[in-house]
Amino acid sequence: MLSKRIIPCLDVRAGKLTKGVKFQGNVDIGDPVEAARRYYEEGADEIVFYDITASAEGRKIMIDVVRKVAECIFIPFSVGGGIGSVEDMREVILAGAEKVSVNSAAVKNPSLITAGAKAFGSQCIVLGMDVKRVEASKEIPSGYEIVIQGGRKYTGIDALWWAKEAENLGAGEICLNSIDADGTKEGYELNLTALVSSLVRIPVIASGGAGTPEHIYRVLTEGRADAALIASIVHYRSYTIGEIKGHLASRGVKVRELW
């Protein structure tokens, strides 16, 4: 039977691993290649990199990080952040990434999803969605709104509508990040995750808020997520991936236990 995936997320800024809370106050906490190797050895099922530098110089450094990671870890990994064209996708895929994640650029230009799926296959294209809770309205009936540009700009787009639309456009997976929960270590946005996961027929990775293995258990069961993204909980060594998986297995969740 298919295992639920545990996916460490590495935010990279100018070639350094970094972490913030609710998308702000980022501090550097190490070398992304070393961190990726450690998580690979500790049993990560996949790794996600977000390049949070926007400059051309930072971009080159990121490609170099991707290349180094691809030489030493042999599990799938994806790269997101600043991907705005099929050419950007090609660059990270050729450097060794299995998947690319598009976010703001896909909101501005949805045909990017279709173009990417056509060029590399749907399995390569992850739609990253940053979501904030808002008052339900005619425009945002679900009360969950898509925000872009690192959480700074509201779009007036309903998160549930966008998830379904992205699936129809050819996205192979959705990485669903709750900005309200991001970095809080108080648990995932279960309601949002369950709504999106029940709506689409592609895998959903829940993101934002993991502080304990039990939080992860809840998002994989009540939240119906196919995978859980984790960051602070492992970056600060509160738990190892092995401990998280041990907890999930003891609660009856199928995870990959041998690596």
Binding site: L2, R5, F74, I75, P76, G121, E173, R224, L258, W259
Partner: protein, 210 residues
């Protein structure tokens, strides 16, 4: 040297990187003469069956692969490479190489797990039940998992060719072996330590490492 067949089906460099990590020489090529010199052939691929077959035919690689198979040259199929080894694929209604009798079918949208509809593609880590002892699985424990990404799965005509099975809404064949050919539906190059072991087992079968 291990030859990696280049037929423009996705990114072949991840297989090459894994071989480099294992210290095994390789060449990515579409040149039959270079592949002829290789001790073993890896036939990977990501993409669609129709285009894959068209590209193979354009380079005459379809004829070569059939011949290498009948001469007993070690061949390792991966994912799409595995699928086109069979006679026919439902994907784009494509007649394929016919090296192993059987066909390739799409996961039925009606399948469900625990009352919830199955998500397609089948993407992530899953077990392979080793239904037969085979050197490709040497050193790999029962319960090991491998990385899958696919919407279609092989259905061999001859059950005796099946060496591995996986459950996803139903049991399907995830590994076949016929003579010196091994074909896997999962990605050993993305399956961590056990995946690397499968690649080194293949290179040992091919005499590239001893």
């Amino acid at each position: 040297m291990i030859g990696i067949v280049d037929y423009r089906a996705g990114n072949l460099t991840s297989v090459a990187r894994a071989l480099t990590f294992l210290g095994i020489p390789w060449e990515i090529t579409d040149d039959p003469a270079v592949l002829e010199r290789a001790r073993g052939i890896i036939f990977p691929g990501v993409g669609a069956a129709g285009e894959a077959m068209a590209n193979l035919k354009e380079k005459g690689l379809d004829v070569c692969l059939r011949e290498w198979f009948s001469r007993g040259k070690p061949i390792l199929g991966i994912c799409l490479g595995t699928q086109v080894i069979f006679g026919y694929s439902e994907e784009d209604d494509t007649p394929c190489l016919g090296i192993v009798p059987g066909m390739v079918k799409r996961f039925d949208h009606g399948l469900s797990i625990g009352g919830r509809p199955l998500k397609i593609p089948h993407m992530g880590w899953n077990n392979v039940e080793f239904v037969k002892k085979h050197p490709i699985f040497t050193g790999i424990p029962e319960g090991a998992e491998f990385y899958f990404v696919h919407s279609y799965y092989p259905v061999p005509q001859d059950e005796t060719n099946v060496v591995g099975r996986t459950y996803y809404g139903k049991k399907f064949c995830s590994a076949v072996a016929v003579g010196n050919l091994v074909a896997l539906q999962f990605h050993p190059e993305k399956s961590g330590r056990f995946g690397l072991r499968i690649l080194s087992n293949f290179c040992r079968m091919a005499g590239e490492i001893c």
